[in-house]
Symmetry: C2
Subunit: 227 residues, 2 copies
């Protein structure tokens, strides 16, 4: 193998925020410990998968007691790197950008929004949720002043790549792309693409009509195989 | 085991839309076939995982040729249930709801938006992207007239559960919840919760600063273990 494998599988990384949210709910109820089966049920995964996922973090719990809620929250936060605050900037203040800017759920999870940028003269100078929309060409100043190296891209699709290139040149090292088009980034820059239509496609698989069709299909196959 | 296992693992289902998008791009370039290694590289997964994922659909490709692009697209669409059109309604026309209503990327993937609903008198009657925002109390008429049984919830968090209950009573069977709070649905209703902060948490794991820290940590552990 020529490259180091990432230490935690991508599917596990994607489930860690879910476990963290469940642990935060338990912590709010002052639960000191949680069994793997209870935490798994809260997260909607099976207990064996949960234990395997957490074993990648070196967390095995205590037989008969389970996991310490506070410790496990801390371990997941450290693993994700959300134990430190990561300031975020938003580029493109259309409906989606405004929705993200006003989301309210980011700052409490360690992602305060520290800058809003656009190139539309009608948007620049507007106040949104306590921040003034600035021209994209000034973005390097904000990155230097705030230490915010994470950008959310919410531009129209045809602007997404050129904006991404500008941001990286200005010092952005992590990009969350909500524009409905793919962008490419050089090595050493983290990228996550969010495609809202994908959520509908995944939901489609679990539609009750589809589940019923699949079950009927399997029953037919089974009776054909056994008749 | 008291219940039928879903026939395809959830992690595989979540990757099928990604493979589909890559295949659609290949199809647009008129590529008749694709090797598993090329498709895996396009999707950013390893080839063994891709082959395992597709084997759940009964697709194994042909040695030396790979997968037929058109056939595989058809199989994934059938498996996801996106080979048929699923009309969608949107509830809550704040910034996020408007962004979703105007997204433009849904109809082409089989999810035309056929109704917009709110309870705010200032929103009701407004035209957005060719549809008139209607009062939520009329939603059953639209469900009956359009056959749209999928709802996107983009309300404020404190309204999400009561709106979900109303929608299910009116005939909705699949719910995609964008409100930054969990909702519960009865058995027989499909639910997918989208938490936009989770995307930032997952991205955080892959930040170059974090990757460098982990690599340094492993190097330290390795030299401690071997010294």
């Amino acid at each position: 193998m020529s490259e180091l494998e990432p230490p935690v599988p991508a599917a596990t990384v994607a489930r860690l925020p879910l476990y963290l949210r469940c642990l935060e709910a338990l912590d709010a109820e002052a639960a000191p410990t949680v069994s793997s089966s209870h935490l798994a049920a809260l997260a909607g995964v099976n207990a064996a998968k949960l234990r395997k996922d957490l074993s990648h973090l070196g967390s095995y719990g205590t037989r008969g007691v389970g996991y310490d809620v506070g410790n496990l929250m801390g371990e997941i936060r450290r693993e994700l790197g959300v134990d430190e605050t990561s300031p975020v900037i938003v580029i493109g203040l259309g409906n989606l950008g405004q929705a993200l800017a006003k989301h309210g759920g980011f700052a409490g999870r360690g992602f305060p929004i520290v800058g809003l940028f656009d190139i539309d003269p009608n948007k620049i100078g507007q106040e949104m949720d306590g921040l003034i929309v600035q021209h994209l060409e000034t973005v390097a100043n904000t990155i230097a002043a705030t230490g915010g190296h994470t950008a959310i891209i919410a531009t129209p699709p045809d602007a997404a790549q050129v904006v991404t290139d500008q941001l990286i040149a200005a010092g952005i090292t992590s990009v969350l792309n909500f524009a409905p088009t793919g962008v490419v980034v050089p090595d050493g820059v983290a990228l996550r693409q969010v495609d809202l239509a994908v959520e509908l496609q995944i939901l489609s698989y679990y539609r009750p009509e589809r589940v019923a069709e699949r079950d009927a299909g399997r029953d037919r196959n089974l009776s054909a195989a056994t008749s």
